[in-house]
């Protein structure tokens, strides 16, 4: 592995008595990457994270975090890694700044540095004006942001975030994801776990899909899409005019054209054919109203992979309606 791997797990396993929570998983996170651990409840995401931090014993396998073994050199790991637990708690009686100061003291920052870091971190997550407010009055979103401020204050090289967006409203989620992107732009590697697939998809460079303690799939969202959904692009077109279907079918790479409504066509292709399709429509003096490529969605990958298949369910329901 290259030196730019910050987290490396090999055959990582955790048993709770007879039960296997994490089953021989292997993955690597590169420097500056946002890596997502995705999976349903109880899949083993939190357990994996705790093992990376040396907060729970490893039953078998090996982990290296920035080259350190969390079981033997926990302090070296914890000094360089920031952790946002799934339900992050603060001392409600203390102010936001005091909570961070306490952590800063535990880390061992000198007084002057402490103040500077705390102020900057609170500023970065937009909590500057709440610095002297008691955390007891904070909303869930503010607490999550304070948790991220702690990681920023620590100057961590790796941020490990467990369900950072759970329980947040869409606006707060967007804000939080923006801060996470900000971490990446500062060169921090991010490992995050989540079961909110669509939102997380937008920030992750690569993801690992967990299922029953194993990694079922791993790679970038596009790669997984190709692997699971059979690859290809789906381009939707809406245009006024006639006779497009035949012409569009001739575009190289297009494998099929489907009529999805009045003036609506769907192209199946092995590459992004939007520009050619637009050119064809315009060349035939058609009025192009809509042109879009369907994004590969983690949701689709996920449900396809775990065979809950929402599309199929829908077709079946439609079929039932027709029959009735």
């Amino acid at each position: 592995m290259s030196t730019d791997v910050v987290i490396e797990a090999k055959g990582l396993t955790k048993n709770y008595g007879q039960a296997v929570a994490v089953d021989h998983i292997s993955f690597a996170v590169g420097r500056g990457e946002i890596f997502g651990l995705l999976g349903p409840n109880g899949a083993g995401k939190t357990t994996t994270i705790l093992m990376l931090l040396g907060l729970t014993d490893i039953s078998a396998g090996e982990v290296r975090v920035l080259g350190f073994d969390p079981a033997r050199e926990p302090l070296s790991v914890k000094r360089r890694v920031g952790y946002l637990p799934d339900t992050v708690g603060f001392y409600d009686g203390l102010t936001a700044a005091d909570n961070l100061r306490y952590t800063a003291r535990l880390i061992g920052f000198k007084r002057s540095e402490r103040e500077k870091r705390v102020t900057e971190a609170l500023d970065q997550v937009g909590l500057a004006e709440f610095a002297e407010k008691r955390v007891g009055t904070f909303s869930r979103g503010m607490r999550q942001r304070l948790g991220l401020a702690e990681i920023l204050m620590k100057g961590a090289q790796i941020a490990i975030l467990d369900e950072p967006t759970s329980g947040l409203d869409p606006h707060a989620t967007t804000e939080l994801l923006a801060i996470i992107r900000g971490l990446k732009s500062e060169g921090v590697s991010v490992l995050l776990s989540s079961h909110l697939l669509d939102r997380v998809q937008s920030v992750c460079d690569r993801v690992a899909l967990f299922s029953g303690g194993r990694i079922a799939l791993m790679g970038s969202v596009a790669e997984l899409g190709r692997e699971v959904l059979g690859g290809g692009y789906v381009v939707d077109i809406e245009a006024e005019g006639a006779g497009f279907a035949e012409r569009l079918a001739l575009i190289p790479g297009v494998s099929g054209v489907e009529k999805t409504g009045i003036g609506k066509l769907r192209l199946h292709a092995d590459r992004d054919v939007r520009s050619e399709a637009a050119a064809e429509v315009v060349a035939m003096h058609g009025r192009l109203k809509y042109l879009g490529v369907q994004e590969v969605s983690l949701d689709a990958i996920y449900s396809r992979y775990f065979e809950t298949r929402p599309d199929e369910e829908m077709t079946m329901k439609e079929g039932a309606r027709h029959a009735a």
Binding site: L50, T56, G89, G93, L106, I107, G108
Partner: protein
Amino acid sequence: MRREGSAFSGLGVVMLKELSDHLTSVRMRVLEWLVVLVALAALYGAVQQIEDTTAQDPFLFLRLFTTSRDPLPSFVSFISFLVPLMAIGLGFDAVNGEYNRRTLSRILAQPIYRDALLFGKFLAGLVTLAISLITLWLIVIGLGLLLIGVPPGGEEIGRSFLFLFVTIVYAGVWLTLALLFSVLFRSPATAALVTLGVWLFLMFIWPVLAGAVAQIIAPPDPRYLALGLQTPATAVTEQILARLSPSTLFAEVVVALLDPTTRSLGPIYLSQLQGAVLGAPLPIGESMLIAWPQTVGMIASAILVFVVGYVIFQRQEVRA
């Protein structure tokens, strides 16, 4: 396998935070007032009793601690059951409180060992208790001066100072017990109840039970019974059993320290202290020797209980 770095990095930070939490907490203030009021009442009773009875007593000052006047118990009796309450009040939610506030995993993700967290919490509790007890001790000495009007001798100060030290040790024993239960039980209410249950048992039930159990282990000899005496074997067994309770140990140490005429420690209770056997008083050094095994016993039991709690805490899952 050696662990990296110091087990105690962060210890001071944890201790200072916990200490400031304790000193500013409402709980602590309530406990302190309770202790001060009760102690004042006991002291008042003692002073009246002393004025009524004693004419010449070389250790008049120490009588302040041990004399009682109905219906109030003596100062030391009060202390022996209020100090555990204070210690339990400070320690019962030390660790499980962190779980419930969801702060534990966040704090343990900082570069410190669990050792520092647990030991820091213990030290903070102990320092808090020590501060309260020293204050109380100063109040007693000051009021004693005012009320009796006779300054205490050097030896009396020495003995009462040793008493203060032993009381802090005694508080430490209960504090470790409270910490242990705060590690064992996730719910602070359960931890508090169980610790109080153990306190009640060790304080009030065990001394009685020890006698009954001793009769079974070493049945009384009918020859002694016929003479109306206690069989020595039974008495020894009872004493050994009773000493499993820190309250017994504390009571014995207090007797040895505050009553200079004590020559050996049999199974005595604090209530018997007033009419203790007459005899020539021992020098302070010899009283210390008599009290030494019990003091060591208390320190050892505190260490034992702490280590048990520590081992359990090390193996515990941090996730809430």
